[in-house]
Symmetry: C2
Subunit: 319 residues, 2 copies
């Protein structure tokens, strides 16, 4: 065979993904499967157009945390994108319980996804598509490792601006993350561990999977717009109220963050996590007293029946 | 079982996707499979973060059209996203030839994709991921049906702005399409068939899978920025030059389009397609003389060895 007609790489060639999969269970296309078999068609517009929405709820010590809030936001996102689910709210909740129970995981990261699917007639019209629902439960994951949670994340404020809300509604939880991923690479190059993006006007927005708070003059500030309205963000604001800590939801200037007494980020994947430095400059306290009080109350609430819902069937499934 | 604990939907319940798949062949994770088996893991960040790039080249009458240009752009996009492929350029081209040959399709839509993949250690760091390459060949598809290609597409200019280039580089072909999909729904509601988005300054950009040209005072205008630098757009500009038609690559104002003698869109999925109306107002000619001349030469070039590359092994495979 001449040089101009090289061989197709064989399945055993270097570069063929030999990726591993975490423990866990997924529900997809009408059945429960292990994570290694949780796959969507390449032709799904949830992939080829990122035309999808999702939500993530966590389970801690066999209890969902704020399941109602996550399910409500997910159903609202599905409606805003003109998607539909194959079942009602009760059916969705039953499926999430069953997915976690089958996983046997006592601390879990539970994702629910609705994609546009694809058109059985191969048209390009999203109205022709058969929507797809996927859910999975994998071990609880953290946006920060134990050391970072102890001494605070080193944050970089990136030069790439967050996709504006006018183009993609950030209150519909979505997978449009290329700006955030680009920002992550910039952060690593500048010696940081994670990233926050500004909006086009220069106000701070959010990071990959988390909201941002800066505590200045005793007030916990967080952006009002251009961000996902995170459930952990909402929880932090409610806990501020319970603890008598003042909060402000308004455009967040860079100066408020760099001049803060302390700062933290909020995420379903880890709760309330201190920020140690911004662009290489250490903050006065990490974790600061507000961050510590909020974090303690946040984890305490995981046993409070107001926000904690035992996973049905988990004790029987788990060993 | 009480009402508060509904049954999980069974696999046979209404809503389980019974989607059909087109003929064709995909290369994924080291093997060739039919389209019904072409699936990526749900955990692939190409899906969960839309952290991926792609390109589409077409085959017409057993010949690739401008394969070099598509492969070059794809390799540049892969590098810009700091992804890597499991083979070199020659290996990529060999794989595309083989995929089409195995599909047996004489007219094909051929997509190559590189995703971030996921981290075998389940970290959130994109540098830890094992990238994934996918390619598939399915029957050639059109952005417009035969009637639309004859009398011109009814275009709507949507109110949602295109994601700005500062946030996501549009010259890296990507799947960040929620703004375009939202615009498509707006177009359908306003009686249109497809959509073009403006940028944040109000200049016209592009539509879902195509670039836009407006011919005014005999000059073919197309936007210079905020758009994918389409290979069919480049081809149209080169054919303008060959035919002695003046062209301008510059910010494109709405008034240029609404005041145009004729307009057309360009896409690998259909070539040069006339625009019949904009926001319900018919253009003077559809297809206009410039559109017709360009389209005729465009299809003529599909037999010219300068741009046409016979698919190796296709005649043997096809019946």
């Amino acid at each position: 065979m001449p040089d101009s007609q090289p061989q197709v790489p064989s399945p055993t060639d270097e570069g063929t993904p030999q990726t591993q999969f975490p423990p866990g269970i997924a529900w997809i296309d009408g059945r429960f499967v292990p994570m290694s078999e949780a796959k969507i068609p390449v032709l799904d517009w949830g992939f080829l157009r990122s035309d999808a929405t999702y939500d993530v709820v966590h389970v801690w010590k066999r209890r969902f945390f704020r399941l109602d809030a996550h399910v409500e936001r997910f159903l609202a996102s599905v409606a805003k994108l003109r998607l539909s689910l194959p079942f009602d709210r009760a059916g969705l909740e039953a499926l999430l319980h069953e997915t976690v129970a089958r996983s046997g995981l006592e601390d879990a990261y539970v994702e629910m996804i609705c994609t546009r699917g694809h058109s059985p007639t191969f048209s390009r019209d999203p109205r022709d598509a058969v929507n797809r629902f996927v859910a999975f439960a994998i071990p609880f994951g953290w946006i920060a490792n134990p050391e970072q949670r102890r001494r605070g994340l080193h944050l970089i404020v990136a030069s790439v601006p967050r996709i504006p809300a006018a183009s993609v509604d950030p209150t519909v939880k979505n997978y449009h993350w290329l700006d955030l991923v680009n920002g992550m690479f910039e952060a690593y190059e500048r010696g940081g561990e994670s990233v926050v993006l500004k909006d086009l006007e220069g106000f701070l927005t959010e990071g990959p999977g988390f909201n941002l708070f800066a505590v200045k003059d005793g007030v916990a500030h967080t952006p009002d717009a251009g961000v996902l309205e995170g459930i952990t963000r909402r929880t932090a604001l409610e806990l501020c109220s319970e603890l008598g800590i003042a909060s402000a939801v308004a455009p967040l200037a860079m100066e408020t963050l760099t001049g803060a007494e302390e700062a933290f980020v909020t995420s379903t994947a880890g709760g309330i996590v201190p920020v140690g430095s911004v662009d290489g400059q250490a903050l006065p306290a990490a974790p600061g007293p507000v961050t510590q009080r909020l974090s303690e109350l946040y984890w305490h609430k995981h046993a409070d029946p107001t926000w904690a819902t035992p996973v049905r069937g988990l004790s029987a499934s788990a060993t």
